[in-house]
Symmetry: C2
Subunit: 407 residues, 2 copies
Amino acid sequence: MARIVMKFGGTSVSNTDRIKNVARLVKAEVDLGNEVAVVVSAMSGTTDQLAAWSNAVAQLQRSEEYDIVVSSGEQITVGLLALALQNLGLKARSWLAWQIPIYTDCVHGNARIISIDSSIILKEIVQGQIAVVAGFQGIGPNKRITTLGRGGSDTSAVALAASLQADRCDIYTDVEGVYTTDPHLIAKARKIDFIAYEEMLELASHGAKVLHSRAVIMAALYALPVQVLSSLDKKPGTLIVKEGGLVEKQVVTSIAYSTNEAKVTLIGLTDCPGVAAAIFESLAKAAINVDMIVQNVSQNGDFTDLTFTVNSSNLNLACKMLNVLKKDLGYVDIISNAMVCKISVVGVGMRSQPGVAKIMFHTLAKCGINIQLITTSEIRISVLISSKYLDLALQALHTAYGLDTDG
Amino acid sequence: MARIVMKFGGTSVSNTDRIKNVARLVKAEVDLGNEVAVVVSAMSGTTDQLAAWSNAVAQLQRSEEYDIVVSSGEQITVGLLALALQNLGLKARSWLAWQIPIYTDCVHGNARIISIDSSIILKEIVQGQIAVVAGFQGIGPNKRITTLGRGGSDTSAVALAASLQADRCDIYTDVEGVYTTDPHLIAKARKIDFIAYEEMLELASHGAKVLHSRAVIMAALYALPVQVLSSLDKKPGTLIVKEGGLVEKQVVTSIAYSTNEAKVTLIGLTDCPGVAAAIFESLAKAAINVDMIVQNVSQNGDFTDLTFTVNSSNLNLACKMLNVLKKDLGYVDIISNAMVCKISVVGVGMRSQPGVAKIMFHTLAKCGINIQLITTSEIRISVLISSKYLDLALQALHTAYGLDTDG
């Protein structure tokens, strides 16, 4: 017997037939003799609709009231799933965050879980009741409902699993697991059987949408085995484990990409201390995240060029902020480009094996693809290239790192 | 300065433009210096959609989980209205039933309010914060969410107004108030300025959809003035008050009708004690409400005919239950007819003025309309007639009782 937390995303509960399908998947775990808690998202599209309504009545986002509205989507699905489970003759009940409770901080719209008091819910679970828990939501210090931000249901599931000391957290989704790269773009992409937390975190942080990065961090923290698998196919998925638990450490495990990138270059910037600080402080104040940053060596010691990337949705705002600073900073021009994408190769084997970067640069050069920016971590190399080369680059790198399927 | 509870139904909050309109109506009350609490229903259609989803996953209605699902509609509208009010620069916050709390019994899907602890909410209201309260919902003894049944938001509003010792409860709807009869059917129908609780209760119980009967009972109990008015027009509505407060007591104030009626006749029933009890006990067990009942005098002391009406949605079930009893009861035949409607004339003046029934019967006879059943209370006369005569009968009675507009 094991204690399992199962999490189902919006596409897995997008209509009543899919909810009945989820109920059957849960029943299968119960029939194996397992204790089960289920975390569900809202029906796909619901949260977008609720957010759109909020936007239509007021430009007061990420507030207490916004959270009241958007958290109702999960309230609907927990009730429906509990009903569907009862209809199969199982003992089940729904739990809203305030009923458990799942305590968070008070950052509405993007709250973080502080603690979960799982004593009451655990008592019911060990007596054979299936707990159906609303993902994405919590309760703040002022007893108001909070939400965890997009993808927050993954975090809810992992945090609940940690709190319940579960043996495993299964994240059900509409793909079969974590892939060597996006199978929608690259036909030869393979499902990965095992992946390390650190690798998953790098992938989630650099464009892979399969799992929320905060959930991966929490899983790593509690050394909780997390499985990503499909709610539509009955196949084993990808198990996320400690690096030490991997039998074979791939040099490159998977290739992620992100198309929401935009590049900004400030030309002829005065090269003196405090200039970069002024720029990035101004962007941070506007809540604009900066990702890759490269500064060229000064040509004559006085002027330099500074290039960085932001999310493409923030490009206009970033340029506006920089224009305000133009007088103080005294740069010559701003050049921006939203037709770029970032490709990241990730693998824990990079730590011990040199030459990974060389393969990347060589492969892209052979394809005639110019690299605009490069950043690295211990287990990741990311390059910024023109958007038009995305497919070509992914394909070439996937082959070059030996990730293609045999078939 | 007054303390006002304003209630808005589903059509008044059916989209974000209407919600903004409601915010403006609330602001107008606040600008008058009033303390305001607002009770809202779900967007029109939402509760039906949620109930349909529940039905699709399980035939387990009126349960804890059903209530979790259907109560989410009001959670959406309170958040949206609070946002819209904040957007107008007003202090406002939403309250879910469990946050106040509004305590109910544990009859899920049709719970009754036991008490409201308005101490916390009142503290905020007197400090100038607008309370936006979710109608239709409560919290049961087991800390699960309950719902009050259809039309329950009216009851929420009146109960909250009583608890807050409000000066008035304004029920905003899509009509201008209570009418002398349905203005959609009878062009000469007039809006009524004042009506007694007892009259409103008879109308609500016999087909008038403008206000829920449980809300009227509660308003009468606390002698709370209730106004029914339009959220779309800026006009005074109908004020529901104590009979003693009426300047002029109409013999007939208003004419209600109900088309959801079905008539059942048991022919050749053994006329001995216990037979009627067996029949109505069996129907009660199946949760079928019986309305009008007439038993003919036995023709020879042994056999009789029994006629009664049920809601037309229950007709098939009622016939099924009666067929089961056929052997024991020994009746000859069942005749049923769903093509009937009930017309009720209501007025507190009936108590003191004779001849009201005579006008009714005379008027219908002149139109050639056969009366199938008659029931009365001290201030109401109801007749069951063929559905095809509904418009004709309403028109004739409206004129006969002097209710037509001059114009």
